[in-house]
């Protein structure tokens, strides 16, 4: 037998086709995630340029244009150096030994490509960096089919396909640096997929996109970054917690390992821009979870500490977690940056401390709730807990860490005053009224007093109603 002629029949060709690859890559990626990924890249640029300093003067503009059928994201956040584009940005997966980008959000080396594939068929990336610039245009259909430059179809299995992209234009190692204001990146996607155009036409989709991007980049927006979506500038509140001598945020930090962790748990009545009761988890300043009110952040767990399910009674609870790492791969997030990896040792430790701190805040909020009840029943005259909340001031997170003497706190528990001791029984000149009625009788009355949830409150209201009309004067 002539072995050279015959294919090795024991060999299985497991080489992936680009079709499969693209479909795997974009599966489960929402349009929101795709746009979010591109925004993450721009924000990474801002972080690389400025580090912990203010982002004032930096901007990212996103345009969703259904009429003309394009998507565009542009920024002045430093641009992508040609070498980074060649060795990193357009590679699939992160090459071993690829240069660290330092505290970035982009982690897995798939974000930008995945986003571009998800949005449309044609994309054009233009970037100007410190001493290099490039333009790249890709027609995904052609690339997928492996049409080579001469236009001849190439058999993928034979050639193992052309897994390359090509700059249409580039300059490298320029002696004269590009001026800072010219540095930046413009990404334009055309020939949008049908679902994408549809979504751009729906106002509500844009509104919720804006809300999510604003939440995710709360920190950067707060730090001065201008982000616009179709001309609308995103605004975000500064994160603050209520603090006073009597009321002090619980805090834990661990700064010695590759992932730095800071956890705050406290109370706040801040509700603007959808900030709400729950946990907020940031990885390299990018919000990954929040407001989180499920088991993921400890609500309703039974072990190692029992925590109640989230309930509107806890609307004042705020927990902020900041995880920062030089190498973003050390952070315990998933590829879509929408959740935490529950098996990660880092997250396990952080979680343990989160629930520990949160327990003390929840105990306080329960006591506030009881105090309200006792006060209403006139079993106490003072409300030290409510007073503590009323007298506390909103303090930005960055100022909470520093104690008097500006010494950073390590583990501190939530500090709150002691509640007033309720009298065991109502005062002797009081009478309790108790009676039972059927649900059928109760329901319409409950509906009438829609602002009241508790039967006891409704009972009280009914008595007042009678008293005002029949007894008083």
């Amino acid at each position: 037998m002539n072995n050279e002629e015959v294919k090795d029949k024991s060999l299985i060709n497991a080489y992936p086709t680009k079709d499969l690859f693209i479909s795997m890559l974009v599966r489960d990626v929402t349009l929101r995630d795709a746009i979010g990924d591109l925004l993450d890249n721009s924000v990474d640029g801002a972080l690389r340029l400025r580090g912990d300093a203010s982002y004032e003067g930096l901007w990212v503009h996103i345009e969703l244009n259904a009429e003309e059928g394009f998507f565009r994201i542009s920024d002045n956040c430093g641009g992508i150096p040609v070498s980074v584009a060649r060795d990193y940005v357009f590679c699939f997966g992160r090459a071993e030994g690829a240069e660290e980008t330092g505290h970035s959000i982009g982690v897995f080396g798939i974000g930008m490509k995945r986003a571009l594939f998800r949005l449309g068929n044609n994309f054009r990336v233009e970037s100007v960096a410190q001493d290099s610039s490039f333009t790249m245009e890709v027609d995904v259909d052609e690339w997928r089919q492996g049409i080579d430059k001469a236009g001849d179809q190439v058999d993928e299995t034979e050639t193992q396909a052309d897994w390359t992209f090509r700059f249409s234009d580039y300059e490298e190692d320029q002696e004269e640096e590009y001026p800072e204001e010219e540095r930046g990146t413009v990404v334009r996607v055309t020939n949008l997929h049908p679902g994408v155009i549809e979504a751009f036409k729906i106002d509500n989709d844009t509104t919720s996109l804006i809300q999510e991007l604003r939440r995710e980049h709360l920190f950067s927006i707060n730090n001065g970054l201008e982000i616009t979506v179709s001309g609308v500038r995103l605004e975000a509140p500064e994160l603050k917690l209520l603090e006073s001598d009597d009321l002090r945020t619980a805090y834990w930090e661990s700064l010695d390992e590759s992932v730095e962790a800071r956890v705050y748990a406290g109370v706040s009545e801040q509700t603007e821009y959808g900030v709400n009761g729950g946990w907020y988890v940031f990885c390299n300043k990018r919000l990954v979870l929040g407001p989180e009110q499920s088991k993921t952040t400890g609500w309703g767990i039974k072990t190692p500490i029992r925590i109640p399910e989230y309930h509107p009674q806890f609307y004042r609870f705020r927990g902020y977690v900041f995880l920062d790492a030089e190498d973003p791969r050390d952070l315990p997030w998933n590829t879509a940056k929408t959740n935490m990896d529950r098996d990660s040792p880092v997250w396990r430790t952080v979680f343990q401390h989160m629930v520990d701190l949160m327990r003390s805040v929840i105990d306080f909020l329960n006591k506030v709730h009881n105090e309200e009840g006792h006060f209403r029943e006139e079993r106490i005259d003072d409300t030290p807990l409510q007073d503590a909340i009323d007298h506390a001031e909103f303090v930005p997170l960055s100022q909470i860490v520093h104690d008097e003497k500006t010494k950073p706190r390590e583990v501190t528990k939530f500090v709150a005053p002691e509640p007033a001791k309720p009298q065991r029984r109502p005062a002797p000149d009081r009478v309790w009224i108790r009676y039972a009625i059927t649900n059928a009788e109760y329901e319409p009355v409950k509906e009438y007093f829609e602002e009241l949830d508790k039967a006891s409150d409704i009972g009280r209201r009914i008595f007042d109603y009678f008293f005002e009309r029949e007894i008083e004067d």
Partner: protein
């Protein structure tokens, strides 16, 4: 044939418990390699007798003492019976009180529960393991006598299933490994099972907490106590030391293993106290620690086993006498 009554203690005196208390105290003293033991904080359930508090204060000179008391309605009695000024009373369940304490110093905690293991006991254990400093000692005592099961439950499930269901109900089914059967809750096997669940909880909490700790700060739990005894009801006491890796040399210095009642694995140490008259006790004391057993057997008429049991515990054995307090 029934045991003659002269071979039985009046179990209201709880002799094994007294012996256990003294043994633990002897072990606690060795913590001084971490920090002079008088600088530790002691946390326990003093009840109205405060027996552990008295012993620990008198023998170890610990003055930072906290007694957790759930029966708040008897506050006046606890205050009245509090033997020393340095004991602080904290009212509430252990699961509410423990998180209210500060954990900036080393502690000896003895969770001397009266009942069988429950999920809230496991949470207390978890909380302490999460928060206590390296060099802290955690001791847990539990009732391991047979479960009281309702007739309806027994009829419906049969004995073994009913036991298992009771365990799952008490500790949460997510804490009961699949290989635990009703049989594992029979006799002293219940002690083995409870110990395993406690160790499982400690392992999990340490694994979680160690994720972000540098190698030298990683914490391990060194088991030291696994007492089985029975002052009428069967009791289990497990315990050990929390120790960061960088403190391992200190832990070695404590030489806990040289105490013969220390058990670092699942092997229990049974506290058995022979019933002896004061005269027999003083005779044997004169011969101990080496002792001529054969001679004692002949002279006193005790069995070899009784003498050996006594030899193991004689240093800790109480002698009961009647006193007139005026």
């Amino acid at each position: 044939m029934a045991k003659p009554s002269f071979r039985e203690f009046d179990y209201r005196l709880r002799p094994a418990k007294r012996v256990e208390r003294k043994m633990l105290c002897e072990a606690f003293r060795r913590l001084s390699f971490f920090d002079p033991v008088e600088n530790y904080r002691y946390i326990g359930f003093g009840s109205t007798t405060f027996a552990d508090f008295s012993l620990i204060h008198k023998t170890l000179a610990i003055t930072d003492m906290i007694s957790i008391e759930i029966r708040t309605h008897y506050e006046a009695r606890f205050e009245f019976n509090r033997p020393f000024q340095c004991i602080q009373m904290k009212y509430g369940s252990s699961s509410t009180v423990l998180p209210e304490l500060t954990w900036d110093r080393r502690v000896i905690v003895w969770l001397d529960y009266e009942g069988h293991l429950t999920d809230s006991d496991l949470r207390d254990v978890a909380y302490i393991v999460m928060n206590a400093a390296s060099g802290s000692m955690l001791v847990v005592s539990l009732n391991v006598g047979r479960y009281k099961l309702s007739q309806t439950r027994l009829k419906k499930l049969g004995l073994q299933e009913a036991r298992l269901e009771k365990l799952k109900e008490d500790v949460g089914s997510d804490k009961v490994p699949g290989d635990i059967l009703g049989e594992d809750l029979e006799g002293w096997d219940m002690a083995h099972t409870f110990r395993r669940l406690i160790m499982n909880e400690i392992d999990q909490v340490l694994r979680d907490g160690n994720g972000l700790r540098s190698d030298e700060h990683k914490v391990k739990f060194q088991p030291l106590f696994n007492f089985h005894y029975s002052d009428q009801a069967k009791m289990l006491t497990v315990g050990g030391v929390l120790c960061e890796k960088r403190d391992e040399a200190v832990l070695q210095q404590c030489q806990f293993e040289s105490l013969d009642f220390v058990s670092t694995d699942a092997t229990p140490y049974k506290i058995e106290i022979p019933v002896l008259t004061p005269r027999e006790q003083s005779y044997l004391d004169k011969k101990l620690p080496q002792g001529a057993i054969q001679e004692a057997i002949e002279k006193v008429g005790l069995t070899e086993r009784e003498i050996q049991n006594y030899a193991r515990v004689y240093r800790y054995c109480p002698m009961f006498v009647e006193v007139e307090l005026s």
